[in-house]
């Protein structure tokens, strides 16, 4: 798209694939006029591993570890979404207890993902310390998830028709302690970051997205909610046991719909607080019972047809579309990942901003590159 012949004083800057702020291997080809950006073209695919192709060559069961590898920051949510998609396609329902366990773990994972985003975003803006505070909190979540699932990043914990293992007795108490701790921490983050004049100047009014643009580019997740649209699949198309829980969809109340970086920041911080509420409620509501559905085939094989399942992941609308011919291997499995669409708006946002804003905008979209590249 960018023409290679330059007749004016602009020059190209290759931001990435190895750059501290592209968080993974994303390459931005920028055309700069001084420090001002004239044009931007994202170049993707540096971590394309062919997950969709892998899905077509493996049985549904053997694809189980893969989804967490797409979005490694919210691995459990992808894992959860994949199991839910399969269960709905096969007409299987997991026991209530398993559903609650999954939901708690997925929401904890959402907090972990947002925390990491928070830290990394401040790192992009040059503040090093909040990053380590966020990691301290995230460490607690990983310890809790490690206690339940046995691993810390790519969980493979949800199973077709249930979960791999039951909660340990230590789990509720660890989680409650963490909830109290993070609530106190969120207040500190508010003082240290949200109210900080430098931070506000760096993010307010930067990278605004109007509702029309958001619709045009199919934005989703916190990025969309920052435009003032309370679209949350946990509410709109509730899956699992989300209907039982009471929580708010965090949006910014703006009529003009300026979803700038600061709004996106506030939405994610608000979502963390909401997720804490969800986890707290779910801990109260969790029933006793089995954790695996009985009489479920070991190898799932949905009846012939095509199925679609959407899920609100940490970054937005995750869709799984699968075509089955009745065998154990899918004909086609499409993963619509939220970051892919969220990144596509970047060439629209960048022109006219400064190099420093590039980092602020790119960070505020909360991209996970392996999820874009799949």
């Amino acid at each position: 798209m960018l023409r290679k012949t330059l007749t004016d004083d602009t020059f190209y800057l290759n931001m990435g694939p190895q750059h501290p702020s592209t968080h993974g291997v994303l390459r931005l080809l920028l055309r700069l006029d001084g420090e001002r950006i004239v044009e931007c073209e994202p170049v993707l695919g540096y971590s394309h591993r062919g997950h969709e192709h892998m899905a077509q060559t493996k049985s549904y069961l053997r694809f189980m570890p893969n989804p967490s590898r797409m979005d490694y920051l919210a691995g459990l949510m992808y894992n959860h979404a994949y199991c839910l998609a399969l269960e709905r396609a096969c007409g299987v329902e997991a026991p209530r207890r398993a559903q609650y366990i999954r939901l708690i773990c997925a929401e904890l994972n959402r907090i972990a993902s947002h925390l990491l985003w928070f830290g990394a975003y401040l790192l992009d803006l040059g503040g090093f310390t909040p990053f380590l505070y966020a990691f301290d909190d995230r460490e607690d979540i990983l310890a809790i998830l490690g206690e339940v699932t046995g691993s810390r990043l790519t969980y493979s914990y949800c199973r077709f028709g249930g979960v791999a293992r039951d909660l340990t007795p230590a789990f509720p108490q660890m989680t409650r302690a963490f909830i109290a701790k993070l609530r106190a921490r969120l207040a500190d983050y508010d003082t240290l970051v949200s109210k900080n004049i430098i931070f506000i100047n760096r993010t307010k009014g930067i990278g605004p997205i109007s509702r029309e643009q958001a619709r045009d580019y199919a934005l989703s997740g916190p990025n969309l909610r920052a435009c003032g649209i309370g679209h949350d699949l946990r509410r709109v198309e509730p899956c699992s046991v989300y209907p039982d829980l009471d929580f708010q969809t965090v949006t910014t109340n703006q009529d003009a719909g300026i979803g700038d970086c600061y709004d996106r920041y506030l939405v994610r911080m608000g979502e963390m607080a909401q997720s804490l509420d969800i986890v707290e409620q779910a801990l109260e509501l969790i029933p006793e019972g089995p954790i695996r559905a009985k009489g479920v085939p070991q190898e799932p094989a949905p009846p012939p047809g095509d199925y679609q399942f959407s899920y609100e992941s940490a970054r937005g609308l995750l869709s799984i579309y699968l075509v089955s011919d009745g065998s154990r291997v899918p004909v086609r499995m499409k993963w619509r990942t939220p970051s892919f669409s969220n990144l596509s708006i970047l060439p629209l946002l960048l022109p006219g901003t400064l190099v420093a804003d590039t980092v602020a905008i790119l960070g505020s979209l909360d991209l996970v590159i392996p999820e874009i590249d799949r």
Partner: protein, 148 residues
């Protein structure tokens, strides 16, 4: 911009910076949250998933080399071979290898095992100098009574 606005911006800005510094200095006197790794270690959670290993059972193991685990394994990292001592015997596994470098620790093998012969080990310091070093001989581990 009026003078009042100007001064107001100045004061709120300065106050936000000062309160931010208040937070960091408070954290400075909090106990550190890091663990000095080679000297201190955290307890492993009970559910910890290292690579798989055979469960010791009456001086041996329960594996009958049915092959369910390597058929299920998404990355095909398991190699198991069994033999019979005589025609009337049950098959027993004699060789059991995993290529840990490609294992994704999903745990499907442990779940599908009909004899419940597998479990997760508690190994986590597995740096190797070559990728062949990551091939684990589970039988040898079992006989050495490797760390559990």
């Amino acid at each position: 911009m009026g003078v009042g606005q100007y001064l107001n911006d100045l004061v709120t800005g300065a106050w936000s910076l000062a309160s931010g510094m208040g937070v960091t200095v408070r954290y400075m006197f909090k106990p550190v949250s890091t663990v000095q790794y080679p000297r201190e270690r955290l307890p492993l959670p009970e559910a910890y998933r290292g690579h798989i290993e055979l469960i010791p059972h009456e001086g041996g193991h329960r594996c009958v080399a049915c092959g369910e685990c390597f058929r299920t394994c998404p990355s095909a990292v398991i190699k198991v071979q069994g033999f019979k001592r005589q025609a009337s015997d049950h098959t027993r596994a004699r060789y059991f290898f995993i290529d840990y470098s490609r294992c994704s620790l999903c745990g499907l093998c442990v779940e599908v095992c009909p004899e419940k012969a597998l479990r997760f080990s508690r190994e986590y310091e597995q740096a190797e100098v070559s990728r062949y070093g990551a091939v684990v001989d589970l039988m040898a581990r079992l006989h050495e009574g490797g760390p559990s």
